[in-house]
Symmetry: C2
Amino acid sequence: MKKEAQGPFRPFEKTAILGVGLLGGSLALALRKKQLSKRISGYGRTEGNLKKALRAGMIDEYHMDPRKAVKGADLVVLATPVGMFRGLASEIKDAVEEGSIQTDVGSVKGALVSELESILPNFIGSHPISGGERPGVDNAVDGLFEGVRCIVTVTKAADKNALERMELMWRALGGNVELMDPDKHDMIYALMSHLPHVLAYSLVNTVGSMDGKSIKYAGQGFKDTTRIALSSPEVWRDICLLNGKHVIASIKAFRQELDKIECAIAGNNPAALEAEFGRSRALREKIDRKD
Amino acid sequence: MKKEAQGPFRPFEKTAILGVGLLGGSLALALRKKQLSKRISGYGRTEGNLKKALRAGMIDEYHMDPRKAVKGADLVVLATPVGMFRGLASEIKDAVEEGSIQTDVGSVKGALVSELESILPNFIGSHPISGGERPGVDNAVDGLFEGVRCIVTVTKAADKNALERMELMWRALGGNVELMDPDKHDMIYALMSHLPHVLAYSLVNTVGSMDGKSIKYAGQGFKDTTRIALSSPEVWRDICLLNGKHVIASIKAFRQELDKIECAIAGNNPAALEAEFGRSRALREKIDRKD
């Protein structure tokens, strides 16, 4: 077990947040509240959104050009939908300050981390697993990272000091930091997060295809099961495509489990059906026991 | 639109609750609190459970023989797992009092209502859509039916007075009563409740099959999506088998929606994928707008 990075956190002089939405905005608020960054600049595609973040005191300045946003920043955070990371990294690579750290808050790591490492001088991948299906700066809150798991990726290319800085920063923001290989991250989160999103979206679409008016009969079970179908289609489009290999493997594994249950129903096999449900409940109970 | 039944509710002399679990126990508590039944008797398979209900003041008496429990009762409620309803109805049919009403709280209606109507003298189907995946009398609460939708089934054979009594009772307990054809009920709830349970159980089993240790990485999305996998395997086994036709039709429709999303991922088609997710979100938002 690797020893945890220790010590007080020396604040950043300036953080550039590229994409001031739910995660970027919440990170800005949290960095300010914990005094981890003296200044914060924002970049985004929609000026109205950046003005809102400025008025809300999340950021000190904003720019419609990401190269201007990263000027003077010793920390740069990619917080747009993950599909834009590569393009954005290429755009800023010659503008980032020497000695600065670049990180992200994206839900996909794997090959994307290698690519970003090859484009940017000092990239460390981060993924705070913070709930919140309501996208946008309006839903940003300073406590979004308190008590949530935060994966920081470890690779051969990663700079040890930068890695330790990121570990300390997320911990100072309240995150439970776990260091992880990028591909292992993608395999786990395909199963634990990306697949559930695909299923929630598919379930609501099933209602839409069969009888959209039935939606009014949604009870608490349906609401909970499909809450994440409220998530941003753009964000989840990018995540599913960038982690396509693992997401498809998870869908295939899911189909096999669904098959078993369908067969037990079609074959009118109460023992098999109860065994499938019981196996599921036993594993699901392990989550709540730890809560 | 049928006119709503009106008027104050004349209490039952005695209610027999057959199956004192989450729903039966909550119904006993609610009937008492609202003074809708002077006495309440309980029947169950497990004496320890009935003693607990007696000590908790839910019931005034209990019996291990359902025929004794229904003696003197002008209301009989089937509240065991639905798979036991037919056997239980046959057992009590010669013991129920003349002029009494028999109802249930089961999640399946359809053909089951016809069967129960043919066995019992005066059966009216009920289905209060009350959340609560934690089964058992320990989780019973008196407010379980407050503000929840409650389906009361309408059939040609149904006695008009008994139907009105049931409508009034559920409304007095705080339910939003809706009269519905039994088969329409089963089609809607296969889609809106039974399918989500099947998917939640299947999703947790997918984690179990791929890498059970990953369960510790469950975030809020996974927890919400699979909360109903904590439901009783026995209860949901019965529901899925008794509503097999509609549940399987819903699973088949779901597979088609999952196929569309999988194809968009496999074909690296961002526009198609975003369209599927966007269509889903738009329909899902209709629920919360009404809340």
